[in-house]
């Protein structure tokens, strides 16, 4: 087993040619242990992580009473490093890493997670999913937006679906949400002018994680831009074309002035805080992180959930030249360095988790499922006012790159978009720098020395 792991972790040189070194999981789940076993996950610290631990311990133990589920959490900013430093040591204290969809390429080419293609074929009803959702959380090389390549290998299964929702103050801008991006900006502008102390917009601008990058990518998509040409691996000239420049101009010159002073380092929690304290007319946030907005203990908008819902509305993102929305959420994978008994248990958990009734229960427990039947179920649609937003957004989703160089690409984008939003760079310079530096990263495969600078 050790020899196999060593062999399978031999370097892939970071080329996006689909050549991978991930070890294969068996098609059939091996015999499970009867001894007490702790199945460990790793995720970042946010409500869905706690919901998963509670849900899995309550439900999975009904079928596997000797198993305890432990969801280890780290701060969001440390999430990637916490997983990949352990991968680098070829020893993990987790069995199921919950990876962002964009981490898949890095984990696969390094042989850090199991190839579960055969396992999925034998145990999972793939037709029950929207093909793009199944591809986004598991397929490598990356699928074309909206599609799945049935011949490509799978390395993960959906755990939590997610996208951005537009959160708007019904009491300030009316019940009907803006339909276009331009309309959204003018409504926010008017709302800010009419309500001193309340900013027109609140969105992610921080330079950590993927905060500012997702914001730009969203506006880029809505204004008809592209992040790259995946076939030719070209970014320079694609990202910073006319559509990309227009998107950056809208973000920095039209949207940023409508945000609160000092919001240049805001991410999920800060945006939620602004909404909960009634300081924003329109905000954008991940659906999976929006549950706390309805908690009267955390809000100044009302003393009951109903009172809060009288003031807050949740809608799909406005469209402009396209109706694209960002794909969020994460898949679950199996660590290549876990003991065999834990890998078997992990596969069993994944099979159990993807069953229709379990997906519906997960939806009722606060999760966002990926099976179409669960997404359309009353358990999911009635669990939160934003769940319908997710269901309506599935067909509109677009993801970032999931290549091995993702961590560096997103850092380049984050820091430059953050610089533009905070006046440290002009929008044009920032976008051109992103395109140039990202292209440099993609082209540096044959470079000798100095990688990473």
């Amino acid at each position: 087993m050790a020899a196999m792991l060593v062999a399978t972790t031999m370097a892939a040189c970071g080329q996006d040619d689909g050549a991978t070194s991930a070890p294969k999981a068996p098609a059939t789940i091996p015999e499970l242990t009867k001894d007490p076993l702790t199945l460990s996950f790793i995720w970042f610290d946010w409500p869905p992580a706690h919901a998963l631990e509670a849900f899995a311990n309550a439900e999975y133990t009904k079928v596997r009473s000797n198993v305890t589920i432990k969801v280890n959490t780290v701060p969001n900013a440390n999430w990637h490093d916490a997983m990949f430093t352990q991968f680098a040591a070829h020893k993990t204290d987790f069995d199921i890493p919950i990876l962002d969809s964009q981490h898949i390429g890095e984990a696969v080419t390094n042989g850090n997670i199991l190839d579960i293609t055969d396992f999925v074929k034998k145990n999972i009803d793939v037709k029950a999913y929207n093909p793009y959702l199944l591809a986004a959380y598991g397929q490598y090389p990356q699928a074309e937006t909206g599609k799945r390549d049935e011949n490509a290998s799978l390395y993960g299964l959906p755990l939590l679906g997610d996208t951005w929702t537009m959160i708007y103050r019904k009491d300030l801008i009316g019940d009907k949400p803006p339909q276009t991006w331009d309309e959204m900006i003018s409504v926010a502008e008017k709302c800010q002018a009419d309500n001193p102390g309340v900013s027109g917009l609140a969105f992610h601008q921080a330079n950590g994680s993927d905060a500012a990058a997702v914001t730009y990518n969203t506006v880029n998509g809505v204004y008809g831009g592209n992040l790259w040409d995946s076939k030719t691996r070209k970014i320079n000239g694609v990202l910073n074309d006319a559509a990309g420049q227009e998107a950056m101009d809208v973000l920095v010159n039209k949207m940023k002035p409508l945000t609160a002073a000092g919001s240049g380092n805001w991410f999920i929690d800060e945006v939620n805080a602004a909404v909960a304290q009634g300081k924003a007319c329109i905000a954008f946030n991940w659906i999976a992180a929006s549950g706390g907005l309805l908690d009267p203990k955390q809000s100044t908008l009302g003393t009951t959930r109903e009172e809060i819902l009288d003031k807050l509305g949740f809608a799909t993102l406005p469209s402009q030249k396209t109706n694209l929305v960002p794909l969020g959420g994460m898949g679950m994978h199996v660590s290549a360095y876990s003991p065999a008994a834990n890998q078997a248990e992990a596969l069993n958990f994944m099979k159990w988790f993807e069953q229709p009734d379990i997906q519906k229960k997960w939806a009722a427990a606060g999760g966002v499922p990926s099976r179409t039947d669960a997404l359309e179920s009353p358990e999911f649609l009635n669990a939160g006012p934003f769940n319908k937003v997710y269901a309506d957004s599935v067909s509109r989703m677009r993801d970032m790159w999931n290549v091995p160089e993702y961590a560096r690409l997103v850092d380049i984008e984050n820091t430059n978009v953050n610089a533009a939003l905070n006046g440290a760079k002009t929008p044009k310079d920032a976008l051109n720098d992103i395109a140039k530096e990202q292209q440099g990263v993609l082209d540096s495969g044959s470079r000798k020395g100095g990688g990473g600078l």
Binding site: E106, N416, G452
Partner: protein, 316 residues
């Protein structure tokens, strides 16, 4: 009494070997063996935790090794070093680090020495005051970073709230290019001024009183006494404190990570923060090792120059 064992000798080793072993002590364990036994755990720890990693990093710095990609490390010789030394990205971080080190250490030195000078002139409550001033230094940098992050928050922070109550406008402390670096310097100064103060206070209390008494008899002014007695005697000790602080400030990471994440953009990214990104975002272990080695070399060279100056000062 002619056969008694001498109490002192020029050759203590000989006396020790002549001493009969204590009852119960193994005859095989010589004093040298005992010394080795006592030292070896610390020595092994030092070798395993410091020397070996340093040598290993030195080896990796000449390769293109990546910790996550695995596989063999290929020698690229000085390519990593050349790339780092010619990188505009690195030059930018070096300039940011230099501004930070000079700004923070200069401010801390002036404030620390001033506070120490004022405390040294007090006769009552000196101990209590010193203890209170030392509290920030005892705190973890992460904790300090977190509570300053809340205090400096433009919307909800207490600093802007106070400025507001004085009729002043909001300042974006952590999200504007100029104020972000100043904020880092202020927070570091808040935490580490007590260190300079402590060393300076030790120097000030060690100045012989008779020098001041002689100066008083000669009716020397306060400024003259400070310039010709206090400062020259405390200066070498103060410089040691400055050296320690400069080395610490040079490798600043925690505060940047917590307060600004290097932003806005990369305008507060220090060299250490950049090394972290090179090491863990792309897992370019070879480059990161070379980067780390170069930083160590810079510290060693600057320290050597500094120590020579100190020695010259002592000789003069």
């Amino acid at each position: 009494m002619s056969d008694s064992v001498p109490l002192t000798t020029d050759h203590p080793g000989q006396v020790a070997s002549a001493t009969p072993p204590a009852p119960g002590r193994s005859r095989r364990l010589s004093d040298r063996g005992l010394a080795v036994a006592f030292i070896s755990p610390a020595l092994l720890l030092l070798l395993a935790m410091s020397v070996f990693p340093l040598l290993w990093a030195l080896y990796l710095s000449f390769t293109d090794y990546s910790a996550t990609r695995g596989g063999p490390a290929h020698f690229v010789w000085f390519e990593n070093y050349t790339a780092i030394l010619t990188s505009a990205q690195v030059h930018l971080r070096a300039l940011t680090t230099l501004i930070y080190v000079v700004g923070a250490v200069a401010l801390q030195t002036v404030l620390g020495f001033s506070i120490a000078y004022l405390i040294s002139r007090r006769t009552h409550g000196r101990g209590l005051l010193t203890t209170l001033f030392l509290v920030p230094m005892m705190l973890s940098q992460v904790v300090v970073g977190l509570f300053w992050k809340f205090m400096l928050d433009a919307q909800f922070g207490v600093i802007n709230s106070m400025l507001g109550s004085l009729g002043l406008g909001q300042v974006e402390w952590l999200t504007r290019q100029r104020t972000a670096l100043i904020s880092l310097i202020v927070v570091d100064t808040w935490q580490w001024t007590p260190f300079i103060m402590l060393i300076a206070l030790a120097g000030l209390t060690a100045v012989p009183k008779y020098l001041y008494e002689a100066a008083s008899i000669d009716r020397a002014s306060e400024w003259f006494r400070f310039r010709t007695i206090t400062l020259p005697l405390v200066w070498p000790l103060l410089l040691i404190a400055v050296l320690f602080r400069a080395i610490e400030a040079f490798r600043l990471f925690d505060l940047v990570y917590i307060l600004t994440s290097g932003g806005p953009g990369v305008s507060t990214e220090t060299l250490s923060f950049h090394v972290y990104k090179v090491a863990f975002l792309g897992f370019n272990t070879g480059t990161a090792s070379a980067y780390g080695i170069l930083m160590v070399l810079v510290v060693i060279v600057l320290t050597q120059l500094y120590l020579r100056y100190l020695n010259k000062l002592k000789e003069d």
